[in-house]
Symmetry: C2
Subunit: 303 residues, 2 copies
């Protein structure tokens, strides 16, 4: 399923095809509700199988293809990244955190089930991520790759990444805006996992250290652009487009780029991050066009 350099890409078709593969993998990887723990299985499916952009798995797949690998090399680890992302959404939406009612156009898990089910479904998705990242057929020569990928994902998902970003974000609510702290929050809360996603793709393609590091820089910059665009959409888009409650950031006094710098300067900052994302792709000699298109899409999307 790999493609030649220079081939033109229709981004919509590219995304649609990969979303279908990812959704099929997620359906297969998630437990089927039955037995005494069926509530958690049902809650996991409610959260994950709602329509989503699947950005993290798509980035992992596109990075793998850009390094000469195939979709099959990375489909399961890539899909595991969506489970990890979803666990973080389920926990962030809890009443004790962002207290959200709507996510991906559906009631949040604690609204549709219960708070206990939401905590446990998030926990189970979190564990399932690492079960998939670590599991391999016996004698698989890719064992070392898997272990490497799992370690990178764990590092970017925990205290020095996503979880660290979330607590800093919560604690910044209602405090004086601080550009440096805001960049720290975006880097940890969003960019950390996107950079890990790109690296997971590179690792599963068997890429060398230089390519992995270039893809990591791409993912980081993509994440920064994506998060500023998210803050902008929170100001300008509708609940129907977003599938979640808009205007929440301002309501809870969250520091955002638009709040600090205004809409125009925020759009410029997002564009600058897109340029930062494109730069490292110059050293990737395979099929990097989807990665370029994804970076541009991060800031032009309307939801």
């Amino acid at each position: 399923m790999s493609r030649e350099s220079g081939e033109l890409v229709n981004l919509d078709a590219y995304l649609e095809q990969r979303r279908r593969w990812i959704d099929a993998a997620l359906e297969r990887l998630l437990p089927v509700p039955s037995g005494p723990a069926s509530t958690v299985a049902a809650a996991m499916r409610h959260a994950v199988l709602a329509p989503g952009k699947r950005l993290r798995p798509i980035v992992a797949i596109a990075a793998c293809e850009a390094c000469g690998g195939s979709v099959d090399d990375v489909l399961e680890p890539a899909s595991a990244l969506e489970l990890l992302h979803t666990y973080s959404l389920v926990h962030d939406d809890l009443p004790a955190m962002d207290d959200d009612d709507l996510r991906r156009g559906r009631p949040t898990v604690h609204r549709a089930f219960s708070e206990a089910a939401a905590i446990l479904a998030g926990d189970a998705l979190h564990t399932l991520t690492f079960e998939i990242l670590a599991t391999r057929p016996a004698g698989d020569p890719a064992a070392a790759r898997r272990s490497h990928a799992a370690a990178i994902v764990a590092r970017r998902a925990g205290m020095s990444g996503m979880v660290g970003g979330q607590i800093a974000d919560l604690e910044a609510e209602g405090t004086a805006p601080d550009p440096e702290r805001l960049e720290w929050i975006h880097a940890h809360k969003t960019a950390a996992l996107l950079s890990a996603s790109a690296e997971v793709g590179a690792i599963h393609a068997g890429a060398d250290e230089a390519a992995r590091s270039a893809l990591g820089r791409y993912g980081h910059a993509l994440g920064m652009a994506f998060q500023i665009a998210d803050d902008l959409l929170d100001c300008t888009a509708s609940a129907q487009d977003l599938g979640k409650t808009p205007g929440k950031d301002r309501k809870v006094g969250k520091a955002t780029y638009p709040a600090l710098f205004g809409l125009d300067a925020s759009r410029e900052r997002a564009e600058a991050w897109v340029e930062c994302a494109l730069a490292p792709l110059a050293s990737v000699d395979r099929w990097s066009e989807p990665l370029e298109a994804l970076a541009r899409f991060a800031v032009t999307r309307t939801r």
Copy 2:
């Protein structure tokens, strides 16, 4: 640090020495509070560094020693099991679940910090577990072992293990007692991770499949004995001895062995599980005495 078969063991000295090694490893592995995410780091340390039995790491170490490995072979993965166990305690204690105020003689994390900090500290401990299980020095020949151990732990920690047990336990509150369901809950909530702990020890000693499976059966039976003993202590011990609130099980209408069968029959059942734990050790030809002593200790302990 391995010992010869047949050597007599003073269990107290054995446990004390290993607890010291484990506590030093935990201190080293946990992040030091600093920067924008310091609340989560402080909450993680509050939860983990409180005095604990360290049963799961000790089982992993004893299993490794019983299979001819050394403490150094398994100290970090073993300590990671304590992080995983602690994450589950922090989340189980939350208001939406068991709503507990006291744990290991300290206020629970959501009481000492906040609910958001408790959810995120649990999440960060969960991720850190897999970061440690998956991380290895480049070129380490033990990479495949680590990947194998991480996959086993993930399987027993998620929906088909600990998390599944917790939701079934919560949903059984106030319903008609059912012995079969109760055994399912104990097997998933407690025995799953103890059997994984014993297997992690065997894997890191480089044990063969037969020894790993024997140790897994040992850990499962130990866990079943341990959980019945826990239910008994909830009826009979003081808050000071337990370091957590006693009498809670009956208060919330939780199905327990004592509630179903009475104290005497429950003690007999726990003793029977100890015998089940000892049986597979007959095939372990190294130093299995600490494992035997641990199994007996599971039911004779007073806290």
